[in-house]
Amino acid sequence: MPAPIRLRELIRTIRTARTQAEEREMIQKECAAIRSSFREEDNTYRCRNVAKLLYMHMLGYPAHFGQLECLKLIASQKFTDKRIGYLGAMLLLDERQDVHLLMTNCIKNDLNHSTQYVQGLALCTLGCMGSSEMCRDLAGEVEKLLKTSNSYLRKKAALCAVHVIRKVPELMEMFLPATKNLLNEKNHGVLHTSVVLLTEMCERSPDMLAHFRKVGQLSSSQLVPQLVRILKNLIMSGYSPEHDVSGISDPFLQVRILRLLRILGRNDDDSSEAMNDILAQVATNTETSKNVGNAILYETVLTIMDIKSESGLRVLAINILGRFLLNNDKNIRYVALTSLLKTVQTDHNAVQRHRSTIVDCLKDLDVSIKRRAMELSFALVNGNNVRGMMKELLYFLDSCEPEFKADCASGIFLAAEKYAPSKRWHIDTIMRVLTTAGSYVRDDAVPNLIQLITNSVEMHAYTVQRLYKAILGDYSQQPLVQVASWCIGEYGDLLVSGQCEEEEPIQVTEDEVLDILESVLISNMSASVTRGYALTAIMKLSTRFTCTVNRIKKIVSIYGSSIDVELQQRAVEYNALFKKYDHMRPALLERMPVMEKVTTNGPAEIVQTNGETETAVLETKPPPSGLQPTNQANDLLDLLGGSDITPVIPTAPTSKPASAGGELLDLLGDLNLTGSPVSAPAPQIAQPPFLLDGLISQPLFNDIAAGIPSITAYNKNGLKIDFTFERSNTNPSVTVITIQASNSTELDMTDFVFQAAVPKTFQLQLLSPSSSVIPAFNSGTITQVIKVLNPQKQQLRMRIKLTYNHKGSAMQDLAEVNNFPPQSWQ
């Protein structure tokens, strides 16, 4: 068989291939040749073949059949063989292959080889792909090599030690004694790798970090002063040809040392103090004309910001960043924006000074810079500059790339919410965003906006007029159309009566309004959700408009046979409203009450005072798709973040993230699905279920079947506890018990805590009590709500524990409650 071709020829051949298929063909042919050569166990050419294999592997072709060959090469005595063998091992082998363990012995022998280059090879390979077993076996050898005087080996051993520590953190202590002398070297290679090793140790283990920071040793052997000394030498020393990069001496080492100083100085006053001088020196002495100098300054700034530096130093750092911002070089500006973003939390005022430059960066052509500038701008908006900033940001929104629009829109909404100087300005801003970037607005913004609009009562007319004008021209942007249709539905009467004070009122007839809503319904561009909004809006207008009721009836009945299930359902219900329940229509479709301010994060919490009314702090995320009759039992119980549940069996899935609002809706949805009249929570039924409207001040559990007799559960020592029951008619396994605790003695009972436990087949949830003091002489009561889930319809039993302070002493009592009336659990 002819001698296999050399690697160079192979590369040349592959390069001549003009198509991917041609290349693949060549490579397959060569692979076949290599495989047959391997089978022949040819020692002379093995190294060449493996080299070619590695090249092909790099191009992306499978090369696993070469693994064993690499091992054979490693075992050979020739240096060239070993070199390729180790390289192959690094590229082809890793922990996942079982073969790699065979290498351990070879590496061990080579670590003790007479030639330093072989030792170096072994160290490199171990440091690259050593598995934890290999590292454990060979750590001792590495540590020994870390102490030799040969700097070539020392630096490689240091890097290998880094890898060992990463794989087997427990071995870190083994390397600790060796590190003592590492920084005494002159050789920059050793210095650099030692700093890397120390950095890794400090990052991984807080004990190590404390050890290195420790005061009380001889000052010359302490780490921070040593590092400071080395850094000083680097800066002060004159030109040294072997370490020079564009006029600066070994910038890579400088950057590394600065990073290690950062880790050492973080949250530690003493170390930070020791570093202050050198940091100031570096910051002022480094030349900034070249990129190298800027790289060092960047690292210095990051370090200054992170440690507990004195304020003068911090000002210096921010000024450096400001200078960076004005630089022409894009890289530097990008880097400056990134670091400013990191520091804006802590040094807000200093960054504000550079606001105008940052805003200018919004207009830059570079995508990375624009993104950073946008994030930074949002961080800088505050009450004073909000108008100006918003103008710039809106302009940016107009002209930026689509990938930014969603983030920018959300950011603008947030900022506007926090810092809006006036309601009108706020609404104007929102309108502007909706019209320019309407289709990129996030879904959760729509309910937020609607809630905002409801709250600004005096602006209703103005808002609805502007929205109407906006969608007259163009109704393709879904969020805009959704908000607009909702508003028109709510405030349509204001629109046609032309009552707007803020703006020139426009003359709109009822028919025109219905025209536009109908066209939204018909249009192909409208999403299903949008159509739902439009249909509901039309329905609401039936009470607000006087002359066009028949037209509305017609529209609604058409959609009673729509293919879209959602629309059909609504239309059918509304039809039913027209026909059978016409007397209820005005009440149902009344104007929405003002919604409470919501928190956008966190689960929905409803604080119940006496089980009858609540003030809802609602969550704004709508559930994924309107009406889902989910598991009622769990929903009901998960509704509330029940606080004191000790020693109660905890409710099952307590970690439903932030979708408690959704379940709340599902509850209502279930109440409404049949379209049958429900007594008290009337005005809310016809509303689109994905708006959490009107849950405020509405009795949630004021259900129909309220005829269960109440019992006295406990009556002793003047403390009386009554239970009143309600059954939820949506979920027959749930019983809601309201306890009322009263005190007939002449002294108050304070720190009253009520705890309850139920048998295993039940689940219990205790809500917060109204207070913890029961006033004397029955002048007041504590109420608390308990919800019991009783899926197996067993007889309710409960053990209660009461603790309170009375007449200066702590009282405690246990009791069992067995006299539950059958209607409460059957």
Partner: protein
């Protein structure tokens, strides 16, 4: 930490690749193709740092060759930028006429 080091030409052919973390071999080609696409679409005066997935790319163009280094958040981008240049200078010194 440096995640990978690539030398790719303008046509998308990989000339050198070194991965410091394990990446499946088929994913490597995809990664390289995407990376080079990102770099090619940048103009001359745009900055050399691109954010890609969860790491950053630092790239530098030398004639028809792109050298791209993928780094994570802890690394100083400008130092890596210098490193690339240093690497090229070393190659130049060692092999002459790069």
């Amino acid at each position: 930490m440096i995640k990978f080091f690539l030398m790719v030409n303008k046509q998308g052919q990989t000339r050198l690749s070194r991965y410091y973390e394990h990446v499946e071999i088929n994913k490597r080609t995809i990664l390289e193709a995407e990376v080079i696409k990102n770099c090619l679409s940048r103009s001359k005066d745009e900055c050399s740092f691109i954010e890609y997935k969860d790491f950053k790319l630092v790239y530098r163009q030398y004639a028809a060759l792109f050298i791209v280094v993928g780094i994570d958040q802890t690394e100083n981008e400008m130092a890596v930028y210098e490193l690339i240049h240093n690497f090229v200078e070393v190659l130049d010194k060692y092999f002459s006429r790069v």
